[in-house]
């Protein structure tokens, strides 16, 4: 089994720096979200949830896309290293996806008084994706480790990324046949400062996700190195 980590033992890992950067950006984003950005005229203070809810959602999509890219690379280049990277990316995506559902639910309760709204297309999409990617883990952990599992995981990751737009379209179409909604929402009209806050929060979430991704990869590679070491010693 190849222990394919791009950094040798003498080079420093980027993870601590990434984590520090993520911490700084998240701090700045929170400061902007609460102190700099003006209060929204229509929605009031609950609109501030959006500054994190939407970036978290976008970051989740990015993680799933990254996982699919790594999966494609695995199928194409057949380098085992991509399997772990794809898995960790999808794992991060699922975590951020769960946070999307949680923050979205709180926002729905704050704005409309219900913990769940079938009319919120983004929330419904994330629910479907959450089901899909949860099944990814069920599948992966019921197959023996090896190239077969890597291939199957990669193909499933590709299906996921195709499912995202198809599901979105389906949910849009479903709006007309599932109970017509009383709640309509206009997207928040964002002023310049609001948009800046949103961008900072988005950058913060992206860097955070990347830092967590690299951190998890580090941990998993460490695990496999130790396993190999143990096999060599016993």
């Amino acid at each position: 089994m190849s222990t394919s980590s791009p950094s040798s033992s003498t080079s420093k890992s980027a993870v601590p720096a990434l984590a520090a950067l993520a911490a700084a950006l998240v701090g700045i984003a929170i400061a902007f979200a609460f102190y700099v950005a003006p209060e929204d005229a229509d929605q009031g203070i609950s609109q501030r949830i959006f500054y994190f809810h939407v970036p978290i959602a976008l970051t989740a999509y990015a993680c799933f896309a990254w996982g699919a890219v790594k999966g494609l690379l695995l199928l194409w280049r057949k380098d085992e290293r991509y399997d772990l990277e794809s898995y960790v990316a999808i794992h991060q995506g699922t975590i951020f996806g769960s946070l999307t559902l949680l923050t979205g639910s709180i926002w729905a309760k704050a704005s409309w008084g219900h913990w769940w709204l079938w009319s919120e297309n983004q929330l419904v999409l994330f629910l479907v994706l959450f089901l899909f990617y949860s099944a990814y883990f069920m599948l992966r952990f019921s197959i023996e480790e090896g190239p077969r599992r890597a291939n199957i995981s990669a193909v499933y990751a590709l299906f996921g990324v195709v499912l995202i737009p198809v599901s979105f379209l389906a949910i849009r179409l479903a709006e007309n046949i599932i109970h017509p909604t009383v709640f309509t929402r206009d997207g928040p009209q964002m002023s310049g400062v609001m948009f800046l806050t949103f961008c900072i929060a988005w950058l913060a979430m992206s860097v955070l996700a990347y830092a967590l991704y690299r951190l998890e990869l580090l941990g998993k590679r460490l695990d496999s190195n130790l396993r190999e070491l143990r096999e060599l010693l016993t």
Binding site: L75, V128, L129, L131, F132, S134, A135, M138, L139, S142, I143, E144, G146, P147, R148, R149, N151, I152, A154, V155, Y156, L158, F159, V162, L163, V166, S167, L169, A170, I171, L173, A174, N176, I177
Partner: protein, 212 residues
């Protein structure tokens, strides 16, 4: 042998096996009718016909799952999947042949299910039939590949529904929309789009699902 010739041979083999064994098809038929009867009791008093239309799709999806669980059983039981994979045909032909056979089974079941539904719940119009046909293509294409993935798993009967249902959601939306909405064409077009996109994806990726 030509590509389509391979596909036809593989599909014919499955149909012949089922005609001899006669285990999957009768079970699916009985299942779908039983499910429809259960739905009658599950619908509360005063539930409208529109709700019943939705239940048709639930019945179809779960009946398809029943059939898909057995889709690769002949290959699994005789260890033939490894042999097929080594055979000189394109591996995507294996998927296409199997999906075609599953489609034939599902269609036979639908030939009974739709009249039964019409009998129990009210009429079935042309848009519904078109929706059923288009959705079945998607179900068989995606389901066959997912069943092959599940076949590699320790918990195959458990994991197949988990894999299949999220991907079936757009099909249900399309199908119910075609039955219920005043503009079925939009939903039928969506079903066709789903079928095209996912069939291509399945066709291209099947060989990776079965190979090491």
């Amino acid at each position: 042998m030509s590509y389509l010739g391979d596909v036809a041979t593989l599909a014919r083999k499955d149909l012949r096996l089922e005609l001899r064994a006669r285990d999957t098809l009768p079970a699916m038929l009985l299942f779908v009718v039983s499910t429809l009867v259960v739905f009658h009791f599950a619908l509360p008093e005063g539930a409208d016909e529109v709700a019943a239309q939705g239940l048709l799709w639930v019945a179809l999806v779960f009946t398809a799952l029943l059939g898909l669980a057995r889709a690769w059983a002949p290959e699994r039981e005789s260890g033939a999947l490894e042999g097929l994979v080594l055979a000189p045909c394109d591996r995507s032909a294996i998927w296409l042949g199997k999906a075609a056979a599953v489609f034939a089974f599902l269609s036979s079941v639908e030939l009974v299910a739709l009249p039964a539904f019409a009998l129990f719940f009210g009429s079935v119009d042309a848009a519904t039939v078109a929706g059923v046909v288009l959705a079945s293509i998607g179900i068989c294409a995606v389901g066959t590949l997912l069943a092959a993935m599940a076949a590699a798993s320790r918990t195959r009967e458990l994991v197949l529904p988990l894999l299949f249902l999220p991907l079936a959601i757009p099909l249900v939306v399309g199908g119910v929309g075609a039955s219920v909405s005043s503009e079925p064409a939009r939903y039928l077009a969506f079903l066709a789009l789903y079928d095209a996109i996912f069939s291509i994806l399945c066709w291209a990726s099947f060989e990776y699902v079965v190979s090491e």
